[in-house]
């Protein structure tokens, strides 16, 4: 098989890149290690910047987000027993949209399917090869058979644990990392959110965040110890601890209910430099991890995909490598 751009990873970064490239007339194939259901089962960020929504619109995958997403003009910061609103719209003229990463992924998957583009799910042993030459390849196994894709470029959109970054020789890459001495314990519940905007709470017992996926589904987080295990956090204990970290008004308004998802995530800051190695590029979490406060990971993945798609369009349409040469520096400036 031959394609212009072989994309590794069918998360939001890979799917968005694929649709942007397609809109520029650049054919691409996506390889994904997991099944579509597995990809959609991952609960991730839930806040889109205006630029990210504009990219979804650009590839024709934004209509459900506009219909179902909640537009927020501000946030509240809780500390010292009180709450203080920050009016983001008044300060910047911009808003953010509450819309889950899972929904973004589903919308992009459907757009890709509708366009008849190729995604190979359950591709194992995916290996990027020869990206330091003019003839890069990607090999993978599907149903026990080894396949090879010859391509012009490889886009590594396969996340922090993906094969793309780890395929780069250690001498060619510099990494910077900070692991924080705590994690985020998150639950999802079919309850109305405690407030119509997000509450970020600084408390002597630790940080808490009240967010939402819709007006019927809430997401709450508690700063927890890295040694904690979700078995130690039955729902009642979670709600009790959350109440201790919120102001009285929020406690009175909080609606509790059974959790439908519960997980602990470590907090990490990680940056790999550069984001280009010959004819392979890293996009999104494959290149950088940011702490979840403000859902920047998803939005950074979207801006990376945008920069890379525009750079590749310049390469094919104008026969200029200026864009791909600048990609790493341009994308890193936003991290």
């Amino acid at each position: 098989m031959r394609t212009k751009v072989a994309i590794i990873g069918a998360g939001p970064a890979g799917l968005l890149l694929g649709q942007l490239l397609r809109s520029y007339g650049i054919d691409n194939v996506i390889l994904e290690r997991h099944t579509p259901d597995y990809v959609l089962g991952r609960i991730r960020a839930g806040l889109l910047e205006e630029g990210t929504v504009a990219l979804l619109d650009e590839v024709g995958a934004g209509s459900r987000a506009h219909r179902e997403g909640l537009v927020h003009d501000g946030i509240e910061l809780a500390f010292g027993g009180g709450r203080h609103r920050i009016d983001m719209k008044a300060a910047t003229g911009k808003t953010v949209m509450i819309y889950g990463q899972t929904e973004v992924t589903l919308d992009l998957m459907n757009a890709r399917k509708a366009a008849g583009l190729s995604t190979v799910y359950e591709a194992t042993d995916v290996t990027p090869l020869d990206f330091d030459t003019d003839r890069p390849r990607v090999t993978y196994k599907k149903d026990g058979v080894t396949h090879e894709i010859a391509c012009d470029f490889i886009a590594g959109c396969d996340g922090f644990h993906g094969v793309s970054r780890t395929s780069v020789p250690a001498s060619a890459i510099q990494t910077f990392e900070r692991v924080y001495p705590f994690g985020w314990l998150g639950i999802l519940s079919e309850t109305p959110p405690v407030s119509h905007e997000l509450i970020y709470s600084n408390h002597a017992r630790g940080f808490a965040l009240c967010t939402m996926r819709s007006m019927h589904r809430s997401r709450y987080y508690l700063q927890c110890s890295l040694d904690d295990h979700i078995d130690q956090w039955p729902d009642d204990k979670f709600w009790d601890e959350l109440k201790r970290r919120l102001d009285q008004k929020a406690v009175d308004q909080l609606v509790t209910g059974p959790s439908i998802e519960k997980s602990i995530a470590p907090l990490r800051s990680f940056v790999a430099e550069p984001m280009r190695f010959g004819r392979m590029f890293l996009t999104g979490d494959a290149a950088h991890i940011v702490p979840p406060t403000g859902a920047k990971g998803l939005n950074l993945a979207a801006s990376d995909a945008h920069y890379l798609a525009v750079a590749l369009r310049e390469y094919y349409d104008e026969k200029s490598s200026a864009g791909i040469d600048a990609y790493s520096a341009t994308a890193l400036k936003r991290v």
């Binding site: 205006e50 990210t52 946030i75 203080h84 630790g206 920069y307």
Partner: protein, 42 residues
């Protein structure tokens, strides 16, 4: 500014509270936080 850092002690927590006071009372600080939160342009 929001998390409890086990290694910074009481002084660290007090500095964080002062930062929060500043960010919720200064127009410049609120604008800076907002710009980052809604996303830098791309």
């Amino acid at each position: 500014m929001l998390h409890k850092f086990p290694d910074t002690g009481t002084i660290g927590a007090r500095i964080q509270l002062h930062e929060l006071d500043y960010v919720t009372s200064s127009k410049a600080a609120m604008t800076s936080l907002s710009e980052n939160y809604v996303g830098l342009p791309f």
